[in-house]
């Protein structure tokens, strides 16, 4: 990065690294163990025959066979081929709340005191971690105003699924489960708010936004009926626009006999400012890997912390971590529980990291997080709107909360350069701008969410990157359309993704599909 230009002369490594299974060579080992000594064998036997027979595999697993050094090189190369919050200005992945995950919290989570714990240990021997789980529950109660949290769901969509299961259990207990077969959501709520109920067997009614980007109260009135089971809604929605009439939404749904669930996966703009309770929600959840700084970990391990008001506590998954005044224990005695949604107690490292993060900030610190996130976002909004070809549909002239869904439609119409092209070209400058902006109501969408973690200098660097790409789009669109030029991979052909015989998500399924 020179003094004149804020855009880096970046070039990413390209190793052309094979899949680790392709590096495997039969018999190669990381460690060769010594032969067992006679004296030891005399005492413990061969070490295998004493294992219960149901624990012994009939066939060894098909694992790649490599030496230590090959493994190390493989993963180092892979690590050079990524971008992420620890490496670049990762504000281009709006809705995901990419923020700094303090490394001290990683150290807690990798310390033997923690890693040597086993979920089957007697509760008397794990009082420390149970206390952390219980106290995080207390923190989230305060942040949401609701009455009890479970950390069992392994992510946001699973938390939504658990909410839907609770909604179902509630209506079943009232003998109305069959009649109430519809869940209402909005187009700009997270798509999982529609997808999870669908999986559960519900009909889903989605409300389109009005000119301001918000769902109309009158549209909700049209949607509710005696068939309404519940409402699942995000606020602020993925546009970063806060729905000021949210209390009317919950009132209308309650009056129709429905349950209200608040998708707070991303609550980064409202900590200490608004709560689920005051908006009359019955259920809510937070993604610890978004708002509460636990890393996303490439799709896991994550945590969707699910909270409920008193009336719905009886449906929570088991066990619940509780405190009797002297010790912490696991309570399995919840007769109307929806059962388990995941094994054991949830992703405990994520819980530990979120607990540490909250402890380091305190009440005022949490509010400050949101205030800075909102400030950063509105600074960015002003700067992005100065870029030729960019716009922010809806709520013109108004501030947004923690993110904005922008549009490159004007750029596209004038130059033919699409959001995807800009995304690819940004990678040439070491920036990430991602591709998921469902449901694609906004043409040529891109969503930026700067969170509280990035300095003004870093935001300016990202803005310079966008300006540079847009300049190229108008002067020499071919550069942008042919991008990336300095990244790991070139453009991907997406058509094979439509054909299940052409893709596999594991090596085993690859072998099966390719009949090797």
């Amino acid at each position: 990065m020179t003094r004149e230009s804020k855009v880096r002369n970046f070039h990413q490594a390209k190793w052309d690294e094979p899949v680790i299974y392709e590096l495997s060579s039969k018999g190669e080992r990381g460690i060769l163990f010594p032969e067992i000594e006679k004296e030891i064998e005399a005492i413990v036997g061969d070490g295998i025959s004493k294992l219960p027979s149901n624990m012994i595999r009939a066939q060894p697993p098909n694992l790649p066979e490599l030496s230590q050094m090959q493994v190390l090189k493989h993963y180092l190369r892979m690590s050079q081929q990524t971008l992420g919050a620890d490496l670049n200005v990762d504000i281009g992945q709006g809705t995901c709340t990419m923020k700094y995950s303090p490394k001290i919290n990683e150290q807690f989570a990798t310390a033997p005191k923690f890693t040597e714990l086993h979920p089957s240990q007697d509760e008397s021997t794990v009082q420390g971690i149970l206390e952390i789980i219980y106290k995080l529950d207390l923190f989230l109660r305060e942040i949401s105003g609701l009455d009890k949290f479970t950390f069992q769901p392994g992510g946001g969509s699973q938390a939504i699924f658990a909410m839907v299961s609770i909604i179902y259990a509630h209506h079943e207990a009232n003998g109305e489960a069959e009649q109430r077969d519809e869940i209402i959501s909005t187009m700009f709520s997270h798509p999982s708010d529609a997808a999870a109920p669908n999986v559960k067997g519900y009909r889903v009614i989605n409300i389109y936004p009005n000119e301001d980007g918000l769902p109309d109260v009158e549209a909700l009135t049209e949607a509710v009926s005696e068939r309404t089971a519940g409402l699942l809604i995000t606020n602020p929605e993925d546009t970063g626009i806060f729905n000021p009439r949210i209390k009317e939404f919950t009132r209308i749904v309650h009056e129709a006999g429905g349950v209200c669930g608040y998708d707070q996966a991303n609550a980064n703009g409202v900590l200490g400012i608004t709560r689920a309770k005051e908006a009359d929600f019955d259920l809510c959840f937070f993604n610890l890997h978004k708002t509460f700084s636990s890393p996303h970990g490439c799709g896991g391990p994550a945590s969707g912390a699910l909270g409920v008001s008193k009336e719905f506590m009886k449906y929570l998954p088991v066990p619940l971590v509780e405190y009797d005044g002297s010790k912490y224990h696991l309570n399995y005695d919840i007769p109307k529980s929806i059962g388990k949604v995941r094994s054991f107690y949830g992703v405990v490292p994520a819980i530990l990291k979120a607990y540490s993060w909250i402890m380091s900030l305190g009440k005022d610190g949490l509010r400050e997080v949101s205030e800075i996130a909102v400030l950063n976002n509105n600074y960015l909004l002003k700067k992005i709107l100065e870029i030729r070809g960019a716009s922010a549909p809806y709520a013109k002239g108004r501030h947004r909360i923690e993110q904005v869904r922008y549009s490159w439609d004007e750029l596209y119409k004038e130059t033919g350069v699409t959001t995807e092209d800009v995304t690819c070209r940004m990678a040439d400058f070491g920036f990430h701008m991602w591709s998921s902006h469902h449901p694609f109501i906004v043409p040529q969408p891109f969503t930026l969410e700067p969170t509280e973690s990035y300095s003004k200098t870093e935001l300016d660097e990202y803005i310079s990157g966008l300006k540079k790409v847009v300049e190229e789009a108008y002067e020499n669109p071919e550069i942008v359309k042919g991008a990336p030029h300095r990244s790991v991979v070139h453009k991907i052909d997406h058509d094979p993704l439509d054909d299940p015989s052409k893709w596999a998500i594991t090596w085993r399924s690859y072998l099966k599909k390719s009949k090797k």
Partner: protein
Amino acid sequence: MKKLGLIINPIAGMGGKVGLKGTDGLEILAKARNLGAKPISPQRTIKTLERLTSLEDEIELITYPGEMGEGVVKQCGLNPKIIGSIDEGNTTPYDTQQASKELYELKVDLLLFAGGDGTARDIYNSVGTKLVVLGIPTGVKMHSAVYACNPMRAGDLAASYLQGEVRELKEAEVMDIDEEAFRSGIVSAKLYGYLNIPYERNHVQRLKSGSSINERYSQEAIAQEIIENMEEDYYYIIGPGTTTRSIMERLKLENTLLGVDIVHRKQLVEKDLSEKGILEHIREKKVKMIVTPIGGQGFLLGRGNQQISSEVIKQIGKDNIIIIATKQKINSLNGQPFLVDTGDSDLDRMLSGFVSAVTGYRESVIYRISS
């Protein structure tokens, strides 16, 4: 080598700037010229062709002489194959029809045409869906859904299609309004049929969704939803359109794409009914009606389905109207509401407001109707 056909309607769009709402018919054209109208099709077509010059060695460009293509193509430094003959300065719809027929016989891979709704109709009348076509928007009236959003995008989409990057096709509506009636303030639009155009799915959308649910899957999902909920004692009026057709296809019933059919107990009662026919069939019966908005403009009633008159709608009742639309189609409205124009403004007002529209299997949305 791929073959690209090009037809320019040299007079398309001339009526627009001089306020004539269209350029259909010789008299109007003369009037437009008198008012000082200048041809706009050639200039706009150049913008399209500029996007294709880099493919010069990969495609064979075939076009008609002079103002119908040759002139503009050569101006762009391209070397076209010229076919046919015209009376320069006096071309008519017949020339467009003739040119598209000849280009079809030469088996072009794609036919680009510059014009408006009148031109689209001429192409539709002569080659129908036998050819893949794409409109360069240069007309006054552009109610049809067969155009790219601007001339440059037409060039880009044509290039992507010829290079095999875009492979899917979509049936897009050919609409036109009666210009004469329109000039006296009456909008009366008709759905003439469909043309096959390359379907450019949103590139970014493909990135995330992978096995993206394309429009046809959505239509099938809607059809399944509708069929599962069909009630034995109801008669179902099936309005025109490709989305409603998917219901008939799933029921394996004969149907009319542009007409109104009636179904009872999953059997066809009668097809292609007039207003009178519909009224006769539904008298004293329990009836539901399934309609779909027209892509790109959102008309639910009053465009392309005038058989479904205000009288018919009143008999059926608002609550028995089932609206179906793929989300792709709704999103293409860019937030504009569904529209109704039944000719009865009280009825239009009564139909306005928020309604539910079926968008998939066990899936619907709330959207607004406006009159």
